[in-house]
Amino acid sequence: MCLAIPAKIIKINKNIAEVESFGVKKEVDISLTPDAGVGNFVIVHAGFAIQIIDEEDAQAAQSYWKEYLGEKEN
């Protein structure tokens, strides 16, 4: 239940950020990561960003998720 997926912040409007992950855009709440800015990577849990992470780490994590989600679809 504590799954969290990395995503890149594209736009911010107050506490709501538009993020992109695997080509999908979604709105997430960034109230818990007040230092997050456009271009930052965050990990997202149930519609909320819970931590800011480095771009390099985020990309490595995304490749794992691609594999995981790909397997789930099969």
Binding site: C2, L32, I43, H45, A46, I50, Q51, D54, D57, Y64
Partner: protein
């Protein structure tokens, strides 16, 4: 990746101890990854990985599910739950069964969506089942504060949030459970950091390693534990450094304790654990579903023959339950550990039932 795995396995073999090491992986997502990637078969045989109580759905007591069901029967309410919780059995029904009987029970992705639903439907009384460990609790706290600020009076939470470090301490004092080290949860620790585990390493001399969720993360964490055991150390170490900082996410922790204070909580299998749950502070009590929708206490009981309680404590493996894969299967689950996508029994059934 193959090369890295080989290196890690070689490292584990090099650091092999003469005695057995019981490592409890606390988090359900770790349990799933261990089974899915066959990590149990890769590591030296003296390392025994046991699943712990780290699946929030699995540790929710039948009595809480019974009470939520009773509220949905007696009051005209819309109940929102995370999907994992939907089919978990109470004493004689589940949320899934109740929805098929016409109760208004919906699955949600985020608590923010539930508050928005309440705002858009002021004629409905909306209850969010607030379940989860420290990863999820800050989300609920943000939503409750928002409901307070915006004066939303048709939004409530049925709070069954639970705290991880307190449950780990209970397992350490339990004589039946034999744990030599903890593989600590990554995303819970993204919020609380590494300090809340320090007492485990210091007072109980148990190594703790906070691990990520990829197979390499888990192997590396097991290696860090094996090294600590071999060297006779017990420290809290962070393997999942790309996400977890020593101080965690202070904004999130602050938000939790603005809204909640610690209280006792009943865990399936573990019973009542002092200070292992949270209750709303007085200022926010108007959002408490239990007091706003009172129902009589129900005589709740766990499914007969189900060993989920012992599985959650790490005393039994799923395969040691006589219902496992005979009567209790994902298509006909008896206990919560077979239902949740992160339950130990579901993990064993899906990936390891032919290996053991």
């Amino acid at each position: 990746m193959k090369k890295k795995i080989k290196e890690l396995v070689e490292f584990l073999n090099k650091n092999k101890t003469d005695h057995k090491i019981n490592i409890m992986e606390v988090c359900g997502t770790h349990t799933m990854a261990i089974s899915r990637y066959g990590l149990r078969q890769l590591i030296p045989e003296n390392i025994n990985l046991i699943s712990g109580p780290g699946c929030p759905v699995c540790v929710t007591s039948a009595s809480d599910i019974d009470l939520i069901i009773e509220i949905s029967r007696q009051y005209d309410v819309s109940v929102f739950t995370f999907g994992d919780m939907f089919r978990v059995p109470g004493t004689e029904s589940s949320l899934y069964n109740e929805r098929s009987r016409g109760r208004d029970i919906k699955i949600c992705y985020s608590p923010a969506d539930v508050l928005n639903f309440a705002k858009n439907n002021p004629d409905k009384k909306v209850i969010f089942i607030a379940i989860g460990f420290e990863t999820t609790i800050p989300l609920t706290s943000v939503i409750v504060k928002r409901a307070y600020k915006e004066n939303i009076d048709n939004f409530f939470i049925y709070n069954i949030h639970k705290l991880v470090p307190e449950a780990l301490e209970l397992l350490l004092v339990d004589k039946e459970v034999k744990i030599d080290a903890f593989l600590c949860p990554g995303h819970v620790s993204a919020i609380i950091g590494s300090k809340p585990y320090l007492f485990i390493a210091r007072d109980y001399h148990i190594p703790c390693v906070i691990s990520g969720f990829e197979p390499l993360d888990i192997l590396e964490s097991i290696g860090m534990i094996a090294k600590q055991v071999k060297e006779g150390r017990s420290k809290v170490e962070i393997q999942y450094k790309r996400v977890v900082r020593e101080e965690g996410n202070p904004t999130a922790v602050k938000s939790i304790y603005e809204v909640f204070e610690k209280s006792d909580s009943t865990w399936r299998g573990l019973g009542n654990i002092p200070e292992s749950g949270l209750k709303l502070k007085e200022k926010f009590l108007k959002f408490d579903a239990k007091s706003n929708f009172p129902v009589k206490e129900i005589n709740s009981s766990e499914p007969p023959g189900c060993e989920c309680g012992n599985v959650l404590k790490g005393i039994k493996k799923p395969t040691e339950c006589r219902l496992f894969s005979k009567i209790c299967k994902p298509e006909n689950p008896i206990g919560p550990c077979m239902i949740s996508s992160e339950g130990s029994c579901a993990a064993y059934y899906k990936y390891e039932k032919f290996k053991i």
